[in-house]
Symmetry: C2
Subunit: 241 residues, 2 copies
DNA sequence: ACGCCCTTGTGAACATTTGCACAAAGTCGC
DNA sequence: GCGACTTTGTGCAAATGTTCACAAGGGCGT
């Protein structure tokens, strides 16, 4: 393999784990801005975001060197740099597919707009639902998808039932959508190059149930209780480390 | 450090990454049961769940040896074993705190019951909201929390606004809740031993935005497009590491 | 101008997770 | 019964992620 590009210093190729935490830092910075705080140390920001300061500094180091040694980070500048790294310097148009309970709730949620996204279209497969008004928008048929992607929509949200999720995903991908947020309780298969993230309430609860069960079992056998995900205590119980 | 406990074969201490995927396998198995499939290979199940078959087999190996070489897994038996590992052999009662739009949507969602959870109480801080009926339940004041935990509720869902999230978390922890699912767009700090998982729509979208941005940048510089999270192509481009 | 003190940015050790490849182990046809 | 075939379970290596610990820098008081 030849050298290839050189990766302009930092800026390109932030590790996945770090990317997944950047939104949390952004939110913490917003909270601080609201409190009138102009400068933070990695330690303070780490507490607010719920991570360790070492992890925070390592994560930020992937975007560049925006702190001042001995002082900390300028809140508004760091906010800008993280926004830029995430690609939030402009709003991203989003289409939501599936106007059941969940889809309606999402459409009216409003939390998107604040964070750099705008819902520009709501779609549903059912002719009964098409034409209904939800919030400020009118539900449109699936056939408008190509027109949407043609005008720059690249992120799609699947709020359809599980059995329809794969069909919706296929339609989205077929129309040129490159990133999908899937709320349906099922996995969807997409070609390489298409990003999918899943949000599933039941799965999250089941993961919590596992830890609760462990706690019960530990209590029964007299062992110390399970630790938090964040802290390093759990699962290493009694191990030297 | 001395030997410690010995970890009864498998059964105890399943890696976090594996635990996080078990709900997906469970769901895939349910789908297959519904289709009348009685036996699956790791390859088939892996496709349905959206993971690689090697990963699937490794994950399952942590719970024990429930497959038959040359044949595959018995769908219903494997389903049972995963349920057991996750602690889903009985229903877990859940309390939802915060009856705004999101809280109401969650309370009426119904997806919990199917998956081994039952919403047994809805709470809100606002006296105006207390007493209202949401679905089959009546909203109660925060003061009933200790009574709930006393009767066995150990999982709490935070559906309150961000600025109230930490107070709600403190109240939950104070009452004895051991696991929290946080829908508020903020991190909450809890003592060691309390599990917290966060679900945040805006964060997920921001992560997708990052990948979309990379796609655009790659296209501009003439490089090949970004790969899927699963594939290992992206991010290793040209870096020595 | 100087030196002290504080916090960043990062190299290196450690831990976890993923992927590969194959021996072990079981079924099925004959 | 037996051999061919299939698929599991796992040892090992590579990749990824986390933590530690400290040198490098920069501000601030004097």
């Amino acid at each position: 393999m030849p050298p290839v590009s050189v990766e302009s210093a930092a800026e390109r190729g932030i590790p996945d784990a770090a990317v997944a935490r950047l939104p949390g830092y952004l939110r913490a910075l917003d909270t601080m801005t609201a409190s009138g705080i102009a400068s933070v140390s990695s330690e303070e920001l780490a507490v607010e975001a719920g991570v360790s300061s070492a992890k925070l500094r390592k994560d930020l180091s992937h975007l560049g060197s925006y702190g001042v040694r001995g002082v900390g980070y300028d809140v508004s500048h760091l906010r800008y740099e993280i926004s830029r790294a995430l690609g939030l310097t402009h709003d991203w148009p989003v289409v939501i597919v599936g106007m059941g309970n969940l889809g309606r709730a999402l459409a009216q949620y409003g939390g998107f707009e604040q964070q750099g996204f705008s819902v520009v279209a709501l779609l549903d497969h059912d002719p009964e639902v098409v034409g209904q008004r939800v919030g400020d928008l009118v539900v449109q048929p699936m056939t408008v998808l190509p027109a949407l992607t043609g005008s720059g929509v690249v992120i799609g949200v699947i709020a359809a039932p599980a059995q329809a999720a794969q069909d919706v995903a296929d339609a989205l991908v077929g129309a040129g959508i490159g990133s999908i947020l899937n709320f349906a309780p099922s996995a969807v298969n997409v070609p390489d190059g298409v990003q999918v993230r899943r949000v599933d309430l039941a799965s999250e609860l089941q993961i919590l149930a596992y830890h609760e069960q462990r706690r019960v079992e530990s209590a029964e056998s007299g062992a110390p209780a399970d630790g938090t995900a964040a802290s390093a205590s759990a699962r290493t119980v009694g191990v030297a480390r």
